[in-house]
Amino acid sequence: MKYLRGDELSGGREILEELPLTETTFFILLSLSPNPKHGYAMMKDVEQLSEGRIRLSTGTLYGAIKRLLEDGWIKRVEDHNTQEDGRGRKVYALTRYGRRILNAEFDRLKDLVAAARQVYAEG
């Protein structure tokens, strides 16, 4: 059986090919960067991080989650804080590969801002 794990992917060129990220993807990854979260927390985070500009519907959020899982950028893990009925709740966490992509996007955006600042400073 052939497995592909986000953690095992490497190579800077592969990461650069994934950039730039869409705003939604960027905010979803950013939301997961401090700690794993479940769907509703991600939805709220995205709204908050985007200052209310992006309000994800449940369908849009889970469509994005599915693609990110598929690409190995995030992973689904059991939440240790189980629900009242004793069943484990699923939460989502960044994979190492997903984190590298997020960092790369962050660096790209920083470079853009730095370039813009330099132009404004000179002007």
Binding site: K2, L4, G6, Y40, T58, L69, E70, V77, E78, T95
Partner: protein, 496 residues
């Protein structure tokens, strides 16, 4: 939780049914929870905020469902239930990629389309040469060029099959199988042209369609993509028989249109490597080619006026429907039977015998109907043609007995499948059993417009008004295609 929110959640849960089953099984529960939380939070801000949120959710759900279905058709979908495994040690998810999205290469896709394209060129060349032969009174030109091209094509088929064998028979080679089959069956085809109607050797003719049906069934057990690829040229070849009734210009245009379309569909199916999409593409191709050919046959034929069909839409439909139905059976039949077999295996000790009874019954019905076509009329090159009063009572008796076997087997299988709860939905179980049960009726409707004696059990629809029976049968095709392309089991059955 307030009533409004609870109601909204129930409606949302229903709407989630719009998503593909693999997606639902992976995310539907979570999505309901998230939706309920969001609805509960928003309700506090007032009814207008709640309505806005519900509107956003409906839009997101509709767009998401369409997008997921499209991806499922392109085989990009993640079958979470099978492929996403939580690794207990590292807590990481593992995604099985190998069987998930593995599109064929462009080379493989083009190789699948090539034989149909060549056939198009072959027939167009022959038509042009024939026209030239008539105009210049040169004799035997068509024969010489036709035989030369046929020999070149035969050699090419041999080479391709050798390449296929070396590559362990990849899917694209299936596009070449029908032509190799024609070469193998050439002696029989030749014999059929030279046998007298009363010659008992005509029974040998049954070998042709029965071989095709059995090949389709056996291939369907191993590789469903190949079934679709094998069926594609059959549509174009059988409609090609009607081309002799057209003027040379229409003949060339229709031939090129049909073969090019077949080639394009074969390329698309292999490139996407998706048999489920292939089934729908096959039906679309079959409908399109049948429609254009039927229109051409009714409006642009060069048949003498006293024999020509009336130039009406009714005549177009009358020519179109039986052909379209029989081509649909060619693909849907083996796949439905295969699905029934799987249902039988999962339905306990009575399941398999019930399936075997259905299978046997269908086989008998098919032999009898084909027997009526081949033994009486000698229309050996058209699967569906005429079913006049054959006077062969064994055919009618056989078809009736076969039909009874199918009915009893289906009842047995349906009951045992429901008792054993093989499928979560009882309606789906009943549909899955009832739709193949209709196969003998579909055989009978194919002969709708033809007078003659038929088994009382197998031909009730024949006596219905044409519009009603046609609508029922087209509905059957859609339902059958939906059933064979549906994922019934969490773990797809292993290909034997």
């Amino acid at each position: 939780m307030p009533t409004t929110t609870r109601l909204a959640r129930h409606i949302y849960a229903l709407c989630l049914g719009l998503y593909p089953s693999s997606f639902r099984e992976a995310f539907a529960d979570e999505m309901q929870v998230v939706f309920a939380k969001a609805a509960f939070e928003t309700q506090r801000r007032g009814i207008l905020a709640l309505l806005g949120m519900i509107w956003r959710e409906i839009c997101g759900l509709l767009v998401g469902a369409v997008s997921e279905h499209w991806q499922a058709l392109s085989r990009k979908e993640l079958m979470m239930d099978e492929t996403l495994e939580i690794d207990a040690g590292s807590g990481t998810a593992q995604l099985e990629m190998g069987s998930r999205y593995d599109p064929g290469t462009w080379r493989a896709a083009l190789m699948a389309g090539l034989p149909h394209f060549l056939m198009g060129c072959f027939f167009a060349t022959l038509s042009i040469v024939t026209a030239y032969e008539f105009a210049t009174s040169r004799e035997n030109l068509t024969n010489i060029i036709g035989i030369t091209l046929a020999v070149i094509f035969a050699v090419l088929i041999g080479v391709v099959l050798l390449i296929g064998k070396r590559a362990s028979w990849p899917s694209w080679v299936a596009s070449w199988y029908p032509y190799a089959g024609i070469l193998v069956m050439l002696p029989l085809l030749w014999l059929s042209q030279h046998l007298d109607q009363s010659d008992p050797l005509r029974y040998v003719m049954l070998v042709l369609p029965m071989t095709l049906a059995l090949v389709m069934y056996l291939v369907a057990r191993r590789n469903r993509l190949k079934v679709v690829l094998i069926a594609l040229p059959v549509v174009t070849l059988l409609w090609g028989v009607f081309l002799e009734f057209f003027t040379p210009e229409v003949d060339v245009i229709l031939g090129l249109w049909g073969w090019s379309l077949t080639a394009v569909v074969a390329v698309a199916i292999v490139r996407l490597d998706n048999w489920r999409l292939g089934v729908w593409l096959f039906l679309a191709l079959s409908l399109l080619i049948s429609l254009t050919s039927a229109v051409a046959f009714v409006y642009w034929n060069n048949i003498p006026a006293e024999h020509a069909p009336d130039r009406t839409i009714y005549e177009v439909v009358r020519f179109l429907v039986p052909q379209f139905l029989s081509f649909s059976i060619l693909v849907l039949g083996p796949l439905l039977v295969w699905t029934l077999g799987e249902l039988g295996q999962r339905s306990g000790p009575m399941g398999t015998p019930a399936f075997q009874l259905i299978f046997l019954g269908l086989l008998v019905v098919m032999v009898c109907f084909l027997g009526a076509v081949f033994l009486r009329d000698g229309s050996n090159y058209v699967l569906v043609y005429r079913f006049r009063d054959t006077g062969l009572s064994w055919l009618v008796t056989g078809a009736t007995l076969g039909g009874i076997a199918v009915v009893f087997g289906s009842l047995m299988l349906g009951i045992t499948a429901v008792i054993n709860k093989v499928l979560s939905s009882r309606t789906t179980t009943i549909l899955l059993v009832a739709v193949p049960l209709m196969l003998p009726l579909v055989f009978s409707i194919v002969y709708n417009n033809i007078s003659g004696k038929a088994s009382w059990l197998l031909a009730p629809l024949r006596d219905f008004p044409f519009v009603i029976s046609t609508t029922i049968m087209l509905g059957w095709v859609l339902l059958g295609a939906w059933l064979v392309t549906r994922r019934f089991w969490k773990v797809e059955p292993r290909i034997r």
